[in-house]
Symmetry: C2
């Protein structure tokens, strides 16, 4: 038998209702991690889940789990979802689409009178965006054990409020939620998300079968020179930090920036003392490096550190790695299930790489994982104008529903 | 006969008294152009001048003239001095030393019962520093006719107060001062100043016979690219403003920065939007270029403009010249008089180039001009720790007194 059809209107209306929480005047959403807005979003989503017979739970990282209980509660659950937090000037779809698509899929399956073999959990990970508490992906990294919860608790926002204090506040607002331990075995993980790129839109595709997420490394580099008078200090005696930066940047661009599969960006740069007639003493900048192949990314990373130190001379360069997220491939079997559903439903689909990071990156080493992308207008995301077409939202949720139906061994053979 | 000796103690004590006006807690001076502090400094200096029989005058640019009247008032006057304004965290000597040395020299000559052939004018130029109203050298440029007084009047400080309004306030505070027209013929101009460099100190010299001032050009460059997502925008589609800046900077450094007679500095640089994961859209930076030879400086300037535009591609570069001050040589005859006085007085002296700009730059095309440098500790200036030794202050004033004595044709044959 075919999987049941999701209710496209219910999904769209709930997505729009959710977007009212933290709505900005320009049509976007400001619902940052562990804010009052996120608390309100939890209430709303938990209420919808309860009405469908799901059980809400949480964990020490304030991840939200909405559990559709299976017949054998001892089996590792099947999980789908994304996150409910947004950028400060974010949109209605980034994160929220994944959570609501998963909830819609589960509600659809439950309403069809089915009961899954194992638990199916709709998840909303804590602080994916990292705009209030940096860096992001906190909930999924805590779940996967790649970042200690103590480290996460200690992170403070711009006002000096700690993640730990806000997790306590969030959990205290929901005293009746059972607490799961951090991390538990999973059967599979699937995350629907808007693409945040133009590949699907340009190819006029509805469904992106995500093959993997490119790896990312970031560095903070500090070049230290010596300050001096622009009119008097002789050129040969200078240790000019901007000259050193230009040499470093030119060498990196020549060696790394010419290869289109590598993404190499220096987006942030600060000069001190930054006065027109003073030979600059210090340049601090950030390097953002991405590549789908971990071996290439690692080699690039080593190269970056070496070049920064060598090319900055006679200045001293100090390179601090900040983020090192390996690339990952998603599960081939799950990609096949996604492709099969899209084919059966008549949704144009193609494989795409995710150039942005997602919580699914943390799940991929733990269990078979996948992502389902839908197009977003002009590839614009992290912006109040972010937009996804209602038919694409429905298609993404339907494909997820179909795949969950197969995986929970109830609907399709 | 030998020229009379200046009163070293009187000069030092008056310099220290002057430094009380605008004194900062760290021992420096904050007496910016056309401030209440400068008004107070005028009162003090005019009072000293009046007691010595000099006549105070001003002009539409609020330059202060202290006139020792000569026998033939129709002859172009001999002028010496510097400026009374300071940097916000300036020192006791930059500018003030030149004015007070000139006043001491004239008072010494007058007290010796002499009367000069022509007027000798002690000058305090308006706004040399340019820290409150930018750029500086306003009084001497208005006098020399290189910047229209209307342009100067329109310049506003950070609070929105115009130079014109503050000139009116300053002149209204001294209603009895006769107004000279802007600019008048000069017989010669001599400016004593601290060196603001280490050449004299390192060579253990007391007097610097300044051969000229190196030329200076400054530019504002704006590189315009296109903003994008660091993880998704393909390298070949990027118009990355930081990449373009690095290319421009490397080419300029390779072509210009290797020559030690040229001073090439990019001390100020701003990136937009300056976020770690956004391909940068815009870089604005300042170029400071100096050389003693105008032909070389002009060629360098043309080269800079060409390279900025060519090397920034595919970004667009826009180059705006801000300052173009030609280098100048000081009068050989006056240098000889300075050297002769130093030799007779036993002050170790050597020729030096001025790497910083001074009001004397504007006088050099108008009349035979010269500068007398004295050492300052560690070359530090524009800083509250700026310091000159009392014996060097006295030596500089004595040499000026000797030279004025020769030029006014009263003392030496």
């Amino acid at each position: 038998m075919a999987a049941p059809s999701i209710d496209a209107d219910r999904l769209w209306n709930r997505l729009m209702r959710l977007a009212e929480i933290g709505a900005t005047p320009k049509g976007g959403v400001d619902r940052q991690a562990l804010s009052e807005g996120e608390t309100e979003a939890w209430r709303l989503v938990i209420d919808w889940a309860h009405k469908a017979g799901l059980v809400a739970q949480t964990d020490p990282a304030a991840n939200l789990f909405l559990v559709w209980e299976g017949r054998d509660r001892t089996l590792p659950p099947l999980m789908a979802g994304s996150h409910l937090d947004s950028q400060p000037t974010g949109g209605k779809f980034d994160g929220a689409f994944g959570v609501m698509a998963a909830l819609e899929a589960v509600i659809t399956l439950a309403a069809a009178g089915l009961r899954p073999e194992r638990d199916i959990i709709v998840v909303a990970w804590m602080n994916e965006e990292g705009s209030r508490f940096a860096p992001g992906m906190m909930g999924s990294e805590a779940f996967a054990g790649v970042r200690p919860i103590e480290t996460i608790h200690a992170v403070k926002d711009a006002k000096g409020i700690s993640t730990g204090a806000e997790i306590d506040r969030q959990l205290a607002a929901f005293p009746n939620l059972a607490r799961r331990p951090l991390g538990f075995p999973l059967f599979a993980y699937i995350e629907p998300h808007i693409e945040q790129h133009t590949l699907l839109e340009q190819a006029e595709m509805t469904i992106g079968i995500v093959t993997g997420i490119q790896g990312k490394k970031t560095y903070e580099v500090k070049i230290e020179g010596t300050k001096g008078h622009a009119g008097t200090l002789s050129m040969r005696d200078r240790r000019d930090a901007v000259v050193a930066f230009a040499e470093v940047m030119s060498r990196l661009q020549a060696q790394i920036g010419r290869h289109d599969h590598i993404k190499f960006t220096v987006g942030q740069l600060l000069v001190e003392p930054n006065a027109p007639s003073i030979v600059p003493e210090r340049v601090r900048f950030r390097i953002d490096l991405r590549h789908p192949d971990n071996a290439v990314l690692d080699r690039c990373g080593e190269f970056v550190e070496r070049i920064c130190i060598a090319a900055a001379k006679p200045c001293n360069a100090n390179v601090t790695p900040l983020v090192s997220a390996a690339s990952n491939d998603f599960d081939a079997g799950l990609q096949e299930l996604i492709a099969r559903s899209a084919g059966q439903r008549g949704f144009p689909a193609m494989p795409v790489l995710s150039y942005a990071g997602h919580d699914a990156r943390q799940m991929a080493p733990l269990c078979p994982s996948a992502m389902i992308f839908i197009p977003c207008r002009d590839g614009v995301s992290h912006d109040e104008s972010e937009w996804a077409e209602p038919q694409h939202v429905a298609a993404g949720a339907q494909v997820l529903c179909d795949v969950l139906a197969v995986l929970c061994r109830e609907v399709l053979p």
